[in-house]
């Protein structure tokens, strides 16, 4: 009986694995054929990724709709204009991300300036934390020596 139960559990687990991979494939197929490529382009740009991300989609999808590339690029162009701002640059720099260098030349200056300042702020914050930590260490060390006396 124990054996039977074990076989049953194993087979049901295998069935579970099988259905997951079919689902993934189906989802991937849906992504390739049913996506709103303008939105995809917009999202890619909004996350500060390179326009060349599209090439990965091309690789991944056997067949893309004819209009996918144009729609993607339209969405990306609109998205990157929204993305390449001083504020987004600052956020990226302040959170320790790398500069993706995705901004077109005419928008690059403001993003880079934000990034530079954000990065400096992060660096300053880190230095401050380090200083405070060192102070804390010093305080602890002083307290310890006082108590031993």
């Amino acid at each position: 009986m124990k054996n039977y139960i074990a076989i049953l559990l194993l087979s049901s687990a295998l069935v579970g694995c099988q259905s997951t991979s079919v689902e993934d494939a189906s989802q991937a197929e849906n992504f390739c054929t049913d996506s709103n490529w303008s939105e995809v382009g917009h999202k890619v740009a909004a996350s500060g990724k390179s326009v060349r991300t599209f090439l990965k989609y091309q690789e991944r999808c056997q067949q893309l709709p004819e209009t996918a590339k144009e729609a993607y690029l339209d969405g990306y162009t609109a998205g990157i204009k929204e993305y390449c701002t001083f504020e987004n640059g600052y956020k990226a720099g302040d959170t320790g991300k790398e500069n993706p260098n995705a901004c077109p030349l005419e928008l690059r200056a403001q993003y880079d300036e934000g990034f530079k300042r954000g990065h400096k702020n992060l660096k300053d914050n880190k230095a401050e934390v380090k200083r405070l930590a060192e102070l804390e260490e010093q305080r602890k060390a002083t307290a310890k020596s006082d108590s031993q006396r």
């Binding site: 326009v51 990157i80 077109p104 030349l105 005419e106």
Partner: protein, 459 residues
Amino acid sequence: MLKIIKNTVLSLSAITCFFSSMAAEASNSNLTVKLAKPTFVLPMFTGPYSEREASIAPEEYETAERLRGMLDADEKEAVLKELESFFDIELSPAMLSLKAQIYFSLAQYDKAEQTFLKVLSRKPQLVRVHRDLGQLYLLQEKPKLARHHFSEAVSYGSNEAIVHGQLAYLNLTLHGAFSAITSYQQAMALQPEEVQWQQGLLASLSQAKMYESAQALLSELIAKNPANKELWLNQAVLSLNMNDTRQALVSLEMAIMLGETDDGNIKTATQLHLQMHSYDRALVLIHQHLDKSVLDMDLLNEYLTWLNQVDMWQQAAKLLDGLESKVQTMKPQKQSIFYNHKAKIALKKKQDSKAGQYYTQALEKDPTNGDALIDYALYSADNKDYIKSELLYTRASVLPEKMKQALLGKAQLYLNMQDHSSALKTLQKAYQRFPDLHYLPEQIDIIQNIIRTKNKVSI
């Protein structure tokens, strides 16, 4: 009314646009002087930007240098292939403009347009891109779009003569002369020797009826280029506009002396000579003109009619002498015109029977020759052959262009024959058909009175 028409000439070198017909009115006769229209030559692709308003990205320097070398070696396709390997958004506006220019130079106009528009969506202040896109639209015969981009180029600070000149040209064609004058002046200020701007400004000033300014400009241009026949033709047009027929004629003669051969202009010069009673010169021009060209019966007809109007029938006879063999090869309708003139000249020479023969010949060749029908009807009436005259008028009255003349002639014939009731019917018919003959009701009243009086007397 004087009508002056300027024609357009298509330039061969590259791309040519042209001015639409321009007309001005003056004086009281129909005279036409044809001018070569101001031409407009669009420059083609001239290579990469030597000076860029838009700078390239630092990471593009190396590529840009390499592409420059390839362009110098005229490897546009290879450059394009390399630029196409990038997504447009990855290229700086300057490099993208270069890509658009190469599409333009390779006559891939749709791609060029799309790429120029992409550049402008990213950098709307790039004056060179506005200029190039304007030229592309001119080439594609989209003048409104072209005008928009030239005006954008100017408003963003472009101070190139060609941009001002193109804007002026488009304003002239789309919005009239007044909107073109300043831009032509700007273009001329930057390139004073450029013929396109001179012609354009002259045309604009003339169209705007700013004749004094146009005359001042033209006088200056003629002083610089006295052997330019187009300038003399312009002077003729301007003089006609200013009702200075003598100056117009002098200018036309200068143009003819410098080689002007346009049929219409020779005719106008001849007509002006006839108007101004310089008949000898008129005849010389007529002879030269007729000798030079394949016999054109319409032209001959015009000349003969003018000569007849000034009672120069002997000269008209000379003109016809020797043409008969040429005429025999023409279509019957054309021969009919010739014989009608022969008939008129015979009448002047008091050769009545010959005149009758020529009229008959004219109508044999073309039974619908309205002039011959009317003339022959008059001739028949003069010779008391009323029945024939009536018949000829009746035939002429079915021709729309001769109906009025035929009905009035026929009415006159009836009056001469004392056939008042037929005259009355004919005049009533004429008035019904041509109510613009405002003097007819009075005539009709008079005839009705005569008829009433006659009836009373007979009672």
